[in-house]
């Protein structure tokens, strides 16, 4: 009886089909997200960043000695202020050094950039890349 009166006075309290649909979708979304986060929390192992550099020649009309660089973080932690160097060497002597700074390298993600050399890399016998430094965020 009391319940009936409540319904009568508050018709807004009765949900319609659209509201039930939005509610069901939201419930599904939130429980899915929470489930995933709980799974990630259980799976999570503390670790450090682990950066891998890949590069390939990518000349453009105004930058003939340009290289495309990809930095992948395969570690368990984000790296901040990543400094990368690409070095050209001939007979053990350094010909040229190009640097690239990346603000953040999130875990299990990759970031891209380009470096330019002023000398033709063909003149060198060695080209290698290395990560100079990064910090804990």
């Amino acid at each position: 009886m009391n319940e009936d009166r409540k319904k009568k006075n508050n018709p807004e309290d009765e949900k319609n089909i659209l509201e039930w649909a939005v509610f069901s979708l939201s419930l599904l979304l939130i429980t899915g997200i929470l489930g995933y986060l709980v799974f990630q929390t259980i799976q999570h192992e503390p670790g450090s960043p682990d950066l891998v550099i890949t590069y390939e020649t990518a000349p453009s009309p105004h930058a003939p000695y340009r290289y495309h660089v990809t930095i992948s973080n395969e570690g368990q932690e984000t790296a901040e202020e990543v400094q990368i160097e690409l070095i050209l060497e001939k007979d053990g002597q350094q010909l040229e050094l190009a640097t690239l700074d990346i603000l953040y390298a999130p875990k299990e993600s990759s970031k891209e950039g380009w470096v330019n050399f002023s000398k033709n890399p063909i003149e060198a016998d060695t080209l290698y890349a290395r990560v100079v430094s990064y910090k804990k965020p």
Partner: protein, 291 residues
């Protein structure tokens, strides 16, 4: 089933909620530090964020939502809906702003960014639905409302809304929404680090004065028809509650965004007071606006 709310009315409510959500969360959606914290925050902390936001939504919908006499069941349903809308909206906006790239970013990064942004969006949705909805309604059926007799549930709801618990819940929501959009920025740390103890003291006094002025107006407005001035005790009590709520929410959001790591106790206190200036305005003015 015959008493169901028309679908058209629900669509209008969702639109009002979405506008409110955007209004309160756009500053945060356009803040660089929040995107970064998306991949810096651990999954465990994201869970805490979701739970705390859900509790705030429950509190807000119970004490200030659109329908005063609504049942707990509907409060829970509404809170789920608002959080769902918040999640979808923040995903779409971050995608539009090119802050998430589905092909390049990891699932963790996308989830982190979306969840952090979605929490403020959903509180905004809740405020938008209640405030835009109730003001539109007031304009439409003002006369009808005056004549209509309130049900027992609505009377109880109205009474509940003037309680001190309602004050604390609204103060917490207001300070999280207003302070939360500033907390992740570097500026809070910078101001705190460069301030002398005198500056911090002045900030603290200013926050308390601001809260007091706003509380005076709320209490004055609350007495309404009788034109009676509010008692000094009430103003002091409300100011204390508002400022405490502002400091508690400042501590929570600053801790959440990692502002306390490896800092001295004084620096932590200073940061809380710096953010407290904004949060206290959110806590007290939030109550004025969201009521």
């Amino acid at each position: 089933m015959g008493n169901n709310k028309p679908v058209k009315e629900s669509i209008v409510e969702y639109a009002q909620g979405s506008v409110g959500g955007l209004l309160f969360s756009f500053p945060l959606l356009y803040t660089m530090e929040v995107w970064y914290s998306g991949y810096l925050v651990q999954p465990g902390n994201l869970i805490i964020m979701v739970i705390v936001t859900f509790l705030l939504l429950l509190g807000y919908n119970r004490y200030s939502g659109m329908h005063p006499g609504t049942s707990w069941k509907n409060v829970v349903i509404d809170s789920f809906e608002e959080m769902g809308i918040g999640l979808i909206m923040s995903f779409c906006i971050l995608l539009m702003l090119n802050r998430i790239q589905l092909h390049a970013d990891s699932l963790d990064e996308i989830m982190g960014k979306v969840i952090i942004e979605a929490m403020v969006v959903s509180i905004g949705v809740s405020i938008g639905t209640a405030q835009l909805g109730s003001s539109a309604k007031e304009n439409g059926d003002q006369k009808e409302d005056q004549e209509k007799e309130l049900s027992d549930a609505e009377k109880a709801g109205k009474k509940r809304r003037s309680s001190k618990t309602a004050l604390v819940v609204l103060a917490l929501c207001g300070s999280i929404v207003v302070g939360g959009s500033v907390a992740p920025t570097e500026e809070v740390l910078l101001i705190a680090a460069e301030a002398t103890p005198l500056h911090i003291l002045l900030m603290s006094i200013a926050s308390i004065l601001l809260s007091m002025v706003v509380c005076y107006f709320i209490d004055f407005k609350g007495t309404g028809q009788s034109e009676k001035k509010p008692a000094i005790y009430d103003i002091i009590f409300d100011t204390c509650l508002s400022y405490s709520a502002a400091l508690v929410s400042s501590i929570f959001v600053l801790w959440y965004f990692g502002a306390f790591s490896n800092l001295s106790f004084w620096n932590i206190v200073a940061q809380c007071i710096v953010l407290g200036v904004i949060s206290s305005l959110g806590a007290s003015a939030g109550r004025l606006l969201f009521k």
